[in-house]
C-alpha cells in the first residue's frame, strides 16, 4: 500500500488523528484568547501526548508571589503535577488548589477518542474572608494581609459557569474538529485520486508504447521480407526474360507468327513484372533506410534533359508535347544523379500517362530558397531570428495539362499503392508505387515535394532541393 492510500485509510477510519492536524495551531491560540477575554479565566490546551499547544491569560499575581516562597511553591507544584495527570474520562473534572481556587480539566473528544485536554484555572468561586488553612499549612510565615489582597484580585468564576463554558467549548471544538477532519480528508482524497489516475495513465502509456514497439518491429520485418522476396524473384525473372528474348529473336529456330506473338507477350509481361519488383525493392530499401544515396555534384539541366530525351518517343507516340526549360546559370546540385533521374522520370511518366492527346508536359528548373526549419507553414515565421537563414535551393516543376489531382487526394497519392479512384486512372494502369518512391527519394535529399493545380487544367508537381554541398552539414 502506498503512503498516500495508507494515510487515507488512517484518516477515514479515524485512527491516529492528531489535534494539531485537525486544527491549525494559530486557530487554537485565537480560540483560547477569545475564551479568556470573555470569561477572564486562564486556560491551556494540550495535545494527546501532553504537549502545550495554546494558552491564554497570565498567571494570577497571587501565584507569582507564592512561587517566590519556598513552601508555597512546593505546594503549588504538587497541585499542578496532579492536575496535569488528571483523567477527565470523556467529560471533565475539577481539582482544588491550596489557595482555595480550582482547576477544571476537560477532555477534547472527537469521534469518541481523546485528542487532547483543556485546563481552565486557577479561578476562585468567592473571595474568602480569611487565608485558607491549607495555604498557611504550606507556608506558615505567609503575610495574611497581602495574601488576602491578592486573593481578591484572582480570576473569579462559579463552578456552574465553568461547567457551561467547558460544555460550550467542547461543542465548538467538536465542530471545528469535524471541519478540520473533513478538509484534511478532502485534500488527501484529492491527492490520492490524482495519484490513482496518474497510475492508470502510466499503465495505459506503457501498454501503448509496447504495442507501438511491436508494430515497429513488425514493420521492419515486413520491409525485410519485401526486400528479400523481391530480390529473390528478380534473378529467375531475369532468366525468363532473357530466354524469351532469345526465343523471340529466333536463336532457337524460326518461330511461326503466332508463336512469336505469344513469346513477345511473355517477354513484355515479364518486363512489367520486373519493373514492379524493382519498385518494391526500392521502396523496401527506402523504408528500411538501407538505400544509400551516392551523392556528387550534378547539373539539374543535364538530369532533366536526359529525362526529356528518354521519354520523347513515348510523348511523340501519344501526341503530347514534352519540353524542358532550365534558366541559365543555375548552381550545381549535390545529390544522387541516378536517383534524381528516377524521381523526374517517374513524375514525367505520370504526367504523360494522365495527359490526354494534344496536351503538354513541361519540366522547368529555377533557383529558389528553402526555409531552414523543417516547417512547411509559410505563416510560421515566429522567432525567425533564432533559426538558421533560408538555404539556397533549386525548384523543379513538372507541369501537365492532364486530368489533375483533386485537393483531397493530394496528400494520399504519396502512399504506396494508392491510386486516385476513377475509371480514367484505372485505364492508365500502373501499381501506385511510383510516387511513394519519389517522395522518399526527395526526402533523402532533404527536399520537399508538393502538388499544385495547373490552371485551368492539369497538375504541377513542385520539388525543391537544397543546394547543400559536402561539408556544409
Amino acid at each position: 500500500m502506498s503512503d498516500v492510500t495508507q494515510r487515507l485509510e488512517e484518516l477515514t477510519l479515524g485512527t491516529r488523528l492528531r489535534l494539531e492536524e485537525l486544527i491549525p495551531r494559530e486557530s487554537l491560540v485565537d480560540l483560547t484568547a477569545s475564551y479568556h477575554e470573555l470569561f477572564g479565566v486562564p486556560l491551556k490546551v494540550f495535545d494527546g501526548s501532553g504537549k502545550l499547544l495554546a494558552e491564554a491569560g497570565p498567571a494570577p499575581s497571587l501565584y507569582v508571589w507564592l512561587a517566590s516562597l519556598r513552601g508555597a511553591r512546593a505546594a503549588l507544584e504538587y497541585v499542578v503535577d496532579h492536575v496535569k495527570q488528571l483523567d477527565p474520562g470523556a467529560g471533565d473534572v475539577s481539582y482544588p488548589c491550596v489557595t482555595g481556587a480550582s482547576y477544571r480539566v476537560s477532555a477534547i473528544q472527537y469521534e469518541g477518542r481523546r485528542l487532547g485536554r483543556v485546563i481552565f484555572g486557577p479561578y476562585l468561586g468567592a473571595v474568602p474572608a480569611e487565608v485558607p488553612p491549607e495555604l498557611l499549612l504550606a507556608e506558615p510565615d505567609l503575610d495574611p494581609a497581602r495574601a488576602l489582597a491578592l486573593l481578591a484580585e484572582m480570576p473569579r468564576a462559579r463552578e456552574e459557569t465553568i461547567t457551561q463554558v467547558v460544555a460550550h467549548l467542547r461543542r465548538g471544538l467538536e465542530i471545528i474538529l469535524f471541519s478540520g477532519h473533513k478538509a484534511l480528508l478532502t485534500s488527501n482524497m484529492h491527492l490520492a485520486s490524482v495519484k490513482e489516475s496518474f497510475k492508470e495513465l502510466q499503465a495505459k502509456n506503457q501498454s501503448l508504447q509496447e504495442a507501438f514497439d511491436r508494430l515497429k518491429e513488425l514493420d521492419r520485418l515486413k520491409s525485410n521480407f519485401l526486400a528479400t522476396v523481391s530480390h529473390e524473384l528478380r534473378t529467375p525473372l531475369t532468366s525468363i526474360i532473357g530466354y524469351s528474348e532469345m526465343l523471340h529473336e529466333g536463336l532457337a529456330g524460326e518461330l511461326t507468327g503466332e508463336q512469336r506473338d505469344f513469346v513477345g507477350t511473355i517477354k513484355e509481361k515479364g518486363e512489367q513484372l520486373l519493373e514492379l519488383i524493382k519498385g518494391l525493392l526500392d521502396l523496401s530499401k527506402l523504408e528500411s533506410g538501407t538505400m544509400s544515396l551516392r551523392k556528387s555534384e550534378l547539373s539539374i539541366a543535364e538530369t532533366l534533359n536526359e529525362v526529356g530525351s528518354t521519354l520523347a518517343p513515348a510523348a511523340r507516340k501519344k501526341n503530347v508535347a514534352l519540353s524542358v526549360q532550365v534558366s541559365a546559370g543555375l548552381p550545381r546540385l549535390w545529390g544522387d544523379a541516378e536517383r534524381l533521374r528516377q524521381v523526374f522520370l517517374n513524375l514525367t511518366e505520370n504526367a504523360l500517362k494522365f495527359t490526354p492527346v494534344g496536351g503538354s508536359v513541361t519540366l522547368s528548373a529555377t533557383a529558389t530558397e528553402l526555409a531552414a526549419t523543417a516547417t512547411e507553414d509559410e505563416e510560421d515565421d515566429d522567432g525567425a531570428v533564432f533559426f538558421a537563414a533560408k538555404r539556397p535551393a533549386l525548384q523543379v516543376r513538372v507541369t501537365d495539362t492532364g486530368i489533375g489531382i483533386p485537393e483531397a487526394e493530394r496528400s494520399k497519392v504519396f502512399d504506396a499503392f494508392y491510386q486516385v479512384d476513377g475509371s480514367s486512372t484505372r485505364e492508365a494502369g500502373g501499381t501506385g508505387l511510383g510516387l511513394s518512391i519519389v517522395k522518399r527519394l526527395v526526402d533523402g535529399h532533404d527536399g520537399t515535394i508538393s502538388i499544385e493545380s495547373n490552371e485551368p487544367q492539369g497538375t504541377v508537381f513542385v520539388i525543391t532541393l537544397p543546394l547543400q554541398r559536402a561539408g556544409q552539414r
Binding site: 485509510e9 477510519l13 469521534e111
Partner: protein, 244 residues
Amino acid sequence: MQLDFVARELTIKLVYYGPALSGKTTNLQALHKAADPESSGRLMTLETRDDRTLFFDLLPLTFKGTGGLSVRLKVFTVPGQVIHASTRKLVVQGADGVAFIADSRTSETTNNATAFLDLKQNVKESGLKLKQLPLVIQFNKRDMPDIRSEEELAELAAQGREPVYLAVATRGEGVVETFMGLLYLTWTALDAANDLNKKFDFDEAALLREVAGKLGYQGSLEQLLGSSVGGVLGQRWLARKAGG
C-alpha cells in the same frame, strides 16, 4: 477491519456501492436520521456538486459491544457516476462488507449490471475476490413506477448467494434492514477469519440487538434478519444460533 488491542476497539469499514443516483447517499442520510445521537457521529459529506457525490459520504457509528470490545462502524458511499472510477476504487479498498444499492426501475437494469461489474473489477484489483466479500443487495426506489416486479426479484434472489432487500430510502423503508443484514454478514465473516467471538468473549447477538435498538428498530432480531426477499438470513441466523 482494524483491531486496536490496547483500546480494545474494533473498526469495521462498510461501503455502499452502486450506480449513479441509485440512492446510496439517501440510505446513509436515512441511517443517520434513524440513529441515536449517542451512537452516531456527524454525517460527513465530502465534496458534492449538484447533490452528486464526488468523493464519498462517511457516517461513523460507535457501539459499546460486549466483552470489553467496543465496535466502530465506518459507513461509506462511493460516487456512482461513471467518471469517478478511480475514487470508487480508493473508497472500496479495505472494505469489510459491501451493500450494493440498485435502482429498481426497469430502465436502470443495465446501469445496475454495469456498476456491479465495476465493483467486481475494483474488488479484484484490490487483491480480493467478490465471493469472499460479505455482500447484500438492495433494490431501492420501490415507490417509483415501471419497476422490476417483486416476483421477478424473488426468483432471481433465490438463485444468488446475496440477500436481497427492497427499499424506499427516501422514506427510510428497508434501510435499517439492509444495513443490519450487511452488518450480520460482515460480522460472521470477520468472526470466521479472526475468531472474534471467542477471543473477546464477545456476544454477537447482543451487538446486533444493540445496533438495531440504536437504529430505532422495534421488532425481534429474527424478524429483522428475516426481512430480506426470501428471508435467507433469518434462517441462517437461526441455524447459527442453534449450532453455536
